[in-house]
Each structure stands twice: as structure tokens, then as C-alpha cells.
């Protein structure tokens, strides 16, 4: 059964439509890549899924989105965001909070842990999964803003993983990373998909080909084609898709 289901999703910012009717099923415990040129609406779809879109007063959303068969717009938004975590394109730790606080904040706000011991264990385990623990174990009290870009992004991964989410949204998570950090993140995603559903936005087709199980190609707010990644890349059914995956459409 599909973990996430979009039914006729439409989003507009003010007068300009961004998503014009998206239908898409995202299977559980797999990596689904959303590919497409800049401005095709990939990031907007992610922000609908955890309802961060509601931070943009000019955004209008219609249609339905289901998580495990439940309409997310009927869910408590805090409960939704506990289950659906997100990694952003620009690493965005809260710079004045400490490394520890950045990971612990969500757990504390949502009262997901009892006592300091359990909190520490959860933070430690999240930092370990994000492969950051060894680099920061001796300076957990340091402001997160002092970390390097690659470390900040892994801190954001740890922050998301601390929730033990069901769905992980990743908005071009490696766009600002060097090849080494990119490889680390990709390897991590392949490990994580055993436990959760990952929706990966990328504008770099080879990344989708490397790690995704399913791929959807978005163009001007609509899904041109979607299916198993292998099929999309080896026998695309649409000329636009073929152009995109072969690097002739940006």
C-alpha cells in the first residue's frame, strides 16, 4: 500500500500557479525521487507534505494528500510533523542553539522523551546515525552556527532522525555539499530506507538513478511520468522525460 498519496494537488502562490494537478503514490520503505528543472514545483510538494506551506501566507492549496490513508489536512499539524521530517537544501540549524539543543529541541517540545538520560541517548543515537557524533562528541555545547557547512547538514539530518520519523523529506540535501559529504548522505539514505519512506527532491538526474527506487519527473507543476527508477531512465515513455534524464533539458 502507498505510504503517501497525492490526489489532484494544486498549489498557487498569489496569482501564479505552481502545482497544477499532481497525482502520485509513494511506496513505503523506499526512496522516491522527485526530479525536474528549477521552478517545476518539487520543493513545494515537500512543503505540502509536512504542511510547512502554511508558513507562506500567499500560498493556496487544494486537493488531498493522504498519509497511511489519513488526510493530512485533517491531522493535528504537530503530529504530522513528528511523523514527517524534513532536510532542507540550505543547512538550517538554529545557529545560536548548541549542537545538542538543535537535536534535542524537537524531542523536548513534543515531550517524546522522559528524563535527561533518555534525551541524551536519543540525541547521541541520532548524531551517530548521521555520522556526526565522533566529530562533535567533545563540543556538544558549542553553538551550531560554528560548524562547517557539511557538518551543519549532517546535524540537520540528525535533528530529523531524532524523531524516528515515518517519512523523511529531503530537499536537494546534497546541493551544497562536496562529493565526499554527498556520498556519505547517499549511503545514509540507502541505509535509512529500510526503516522509513524517503522522498528525495533532486535536480541532478544521476543522483536519482544512483539511489532511488522510484522516480517522478515534474515539469511546470505537473507530473510528466513516474514509475520504477529503472524504467524512467532506460525506457522513458515521454520525450520530455528522455530529454531530462539524458541532460538535454534543464
Amino acid at each position: 500500500m502507498a505510504k503517501v498519496e497525492f490526489k489532484n494537488l494544486r498549489v498557487s502562490f498569489g496569482a501564479s500557479p505552481v502545482i497544477t494537478g499532481v497525482n502520485l503514490s509513494i511506496p513505503d520503505r523506499s526512496i522516491t525521487a522527485l526530479m525536474g528543472p528549477s521552478g517545476s514545483g518539487k520543493s513545494t510538494i515537500l512543503r505540502v507534505l509536512n504542511r510547512l506551506i502554511e508558513l507562506y501566507p500567499e500560498a493556496r492549496v487544494s486537493g488531498e494528500v493522504y498519509l497511511d490513508g489519513q488526510n493530512i489536512f485533517d491531522m493535528n499539524v504537530l503530529e504530522l510533523r513528528r511523523k514527517v521530517q524534513m532536510i532542507f537544501q540550505i543547512p538550517n540549524p538554529i545557529p545560536n542553539l548548541s549542537i545538542f539543543e538543535n537535536v534535542a529541541l524537537g524531542l523536548k517540545l513534543n515531550r517524546l522523551v522522559r528524563g535527561r538520560g533518555e534525551l541524551f541517548e536519543r540525541v547521541k543515537s541520532a548524531l551517530e546515525k548521521a555520522q556526526l557524533w565522533d566529530e562533535v562528541r567533545n563540543r556538544l555545547d558549542m553553538p551550531a552556527g560554528k560548524l562547517s557547512g557539511g557538518q551543519q547538514q549532517r546535524l540537520c539530518v540528525a535533528r530529523a532522525l531524532a524523531f524516528e520519523p515515518e517519512v523523511l523529506l529531503a530537499d536537494e540535501p546534497t546541493a551544497n555539499l562536496d562529493p565526499e559529504n554527498t556520498a556519505k548522505v547517499e549511503a545514509l539514505f540507502l541505509e535509512l530506507k529500510k526503516e522509513m519512506t524517503i522522498v528525495l527532491v533532486t535536480h541532478y538526474p544521476p543522483q536519482a538513478a544512483r539511489i532511488s527506487d522510484y522516480a517522478a519527473f515534474l515539469y511546470k507543476g505537473q507530473i510528466v511520468e513516474w514509475g520504477p527508477t529503472k524504467d524512467i531512465f532506460t525506457k522513458p515513455g515521454h520525450e520530455l522525460t528522455e530529454k531530462y534524464v539524458t541532460g538535454r533539458l534543464y
Binding site: L78, N92, I94
Partner: protein, 307 residues
């Protein structure tokens, strides 16, 4: 003396302007910076010179003793300094929570289309002439506070015009200043950081608290701007503080005086006495040094707190 000071002040600015236009921008700007410091220094020196007669007569006692007796030419500014501290403390204690509330309400809770209107309205209240606040305090706030306080605790406030009245009026006057600075910082919280805060499941209220922590330097900035206004405000305070410059009191529900209102209320007849003008300048000197000390503390705190 005053004319001499004006000339002294004018020369450096002319030199600085010359430097700015013909020598080098960098040097011109440095000179301007230096002369701003020099202005404060010269003011302090002028106060010291003008206050010298009473300092020569009484020593530091003029700053440490209370009472104001023109007949015996005995003056002390301690009760005025105490009044300044007490009214400012009451004002800050009330104004900071209000300013934080105003900032969060306007930037976080109001619908986006109302934010500009309400923001401008709050800013507008900062530009009203202080004498209007004073009139309102005289006829509305003072009597209202008196009956309110006396309902809660009988016979606490014997007059509508007390240090407390001045403190509350000051709080209302300085809230927009602090709120404006806090709002400015609040609007600078980057969108990605805002998204991060909400993505980890913060409610609106929790998000507001986290953002306020992020902009704590602006809150400090607003605090000290408002404090400076509270300590220096003259007309409105003089109208509602009760004008008791004779008897020393630390009870905020009694009439009192502040340094600036003492100067405003006593200057008109000061020239008739030999030592009153120097005594008032001694007050001005004290207020200036006090203000400088507070600014030094502010700079220290903000630099230490920098990320």
C-alpha cells in the same frame, strides 16, 4: 561659557568636513567619530566646570546627601537620583513584557495584511509630544492608578502623582521604542531558520520564544534604548511625579522627583540663589555619568553575547 562651547564644537566639525571633502573619506569619518566622543567629553567637562562651586563647597556630599533647601543653600541630588532609578525600574519592568508582547503579536499572530497597519500605529505613538502624555497622566492615569492601587491596598497611594505614576506613564511612552527594535530583529529571522523551528514541531507560541532567543541582542538593544529614554524623559515625568524634591523617599507610592524633572522644575528660579545652578549642574553631571555607565554595561553585554 555656552558660546565658547559652541565655537569649540564647531571647529572640529569644520576640520572634519574639510578632511571628508579634500583629504580622505576614511580620515574624515574617523575625525567625525572622534568628535562625537569629544562632544560627550566636552559636555561632561562643562557640567563639571558649572558644578564646581558647589563641589568646592560641599565636596562629593552634593551627590550623596538628600534634601533641597534653597533658604539655607543646602542641596543634595540623591533623592533625585533615587527617583530616576525607581521610576526607570518601574517603567522597564512594565515596558519590556509589553514590548515583547507587542512585537510577537504584530509579527507572529496578526494576519499578514494587518501587520503593517498595527506596526505603524505603534510607531506613531512613539512620535507623540511628551507633553500630551503628561496631560493624560495628569488627568487620567494618575487618578485612575490611585483608585486602583487603593482598592487593592487601602491608603497606599495618598496622592495621584507619585514615582509609581511616573513609572507607569514612562512604561507606556517607551514601549514603542523597545518594540520597534525587537520587531526589527524579529523580522530578520531567516526563513530557513523559521522553517526549521516549525519543522521540529514547535507551536506558534514555542516558535515565538525560540525566535526571541535568536534575536536576544535586539531585545537587549531595545532594552537599553528604552532605558535611556526613561532616564532622560523630562516634561511628562515632571507633570506626574509629584515634584517632591525636598524629602528623600524610596517608597514608589509617594511623590518624588527625578534628576531631569528636578532640573526642569527648579531652573526657572535657580538664578536667584548662589548655589542652586551649580547644584543642578551637579545633577546633570550625575545623570550623564550614570547614562555613560549604563551604555558601557550595554556594550559589554552585547559584545560578550555575540555568536
Amino acid at each position: 561659557m555656552l558660546g565658547f562651547l559652541l565655537v569649540v564644537l564647531l571647529i572640529p566639525y569644520l576640520i572634519a568636513a574639510y578632511g571628508l571633502l579634500f583629504v580622505k573619506l576614511r580620515w574624515g569619518l574617523r575625525l567625525f567619530g572622534a568628535f562625537i566622543v569629544a562632544t560627550i567629553g566636552l559636555l561632561t567637562v562643562m557640567f563639571l566646570v558649572e558644578a564646581y562651586p558647589i563641589i568646592a563647597r560641599d565636596g562629593v556630599a552634593v551627590f550623596l546627601q538628600t534634601g533641597w533647601d534653597p533658604v539655607r543653600e543646602s542641596y543634595g541630588v540623591l533623592q533625585a537620583l533615587t527617583g530616576t532609578v525607581l521610576t526607570s525600574a518601574v517603567a522597564m519592568a512594565l515596558a519590556m513584557p509589553m514590548a515583547l508582547g507587542v512585537a510577537v503579536t504584530i509579527n507572529e499572530i496578526l494576519p499578514a495584511r494587518w501587520r503593517g497597519v498595527f506596526g505603524s500605529l505603534v510607531d506613531l505613538t512613539a512620535t507623540m509630544p511628551t507633553v500630551i502624555y503628561g496631560l493624560w497622566g495628569l488627568f487620567v492615569l494618575g487618578p485612575t492608578l490611585q483608585s486602583l492601587v487603593n482598592t487593592l491596598a487601602r491608603d497606599t497611594m495618598t496622592s495621584p502623582y507619585t514615582l509609581f505614576t511616573a513609572g507607569v506613564l514612562l512604561a507606556i511612552m517607551i514601549t514603542p521604542y523597545a518594540a520597534a527594535v525587537i520587531r526589527e530583529g524579529y523580522a530578520l529571522v531567516p526563513k530557513p531558520v523559521e522553517e526549521a523551528i516549525y519543522a521540529v514541531g514547535a507551536t506558534r507560541f514555542e516558535a515565538a520564544l525560540i525566535k526571541l532567543r535568536y534575536v536576544r541582542n535586539y531585545i537587549l538593544g531595545g532594552f537599553f534604548l528604552a532605558l535611556g529614554r526613561a532616564m532622560g524623559e523630562t516634561v511628562a515625568v515632571a507633570m506626574v511625579v509629584g515634584g517632591n524634591f525636598v524629602r528623600f523617599t524610596t517608597n514608589i507610592f509617594e511623590s518624588g522627583i527625578t534628576i531631569s524633572s528636578l532640573i526642569a522644575l527648579q531652573f526657572p528660579n535657580a538664578a536667584s540663589y548662589q548655589y542652586m545652578v551649580p547644584a543642578l549642574f551637579a545633577g546633570a553631571l550625575l545623570l550623564t555619568l550614570f547614562g555613560l555607565a549604563i551604555n558601557a554595561v550595554a556594550i559589554y553585554i552585547i559584545q560578550r553575547g555575540q555568536i
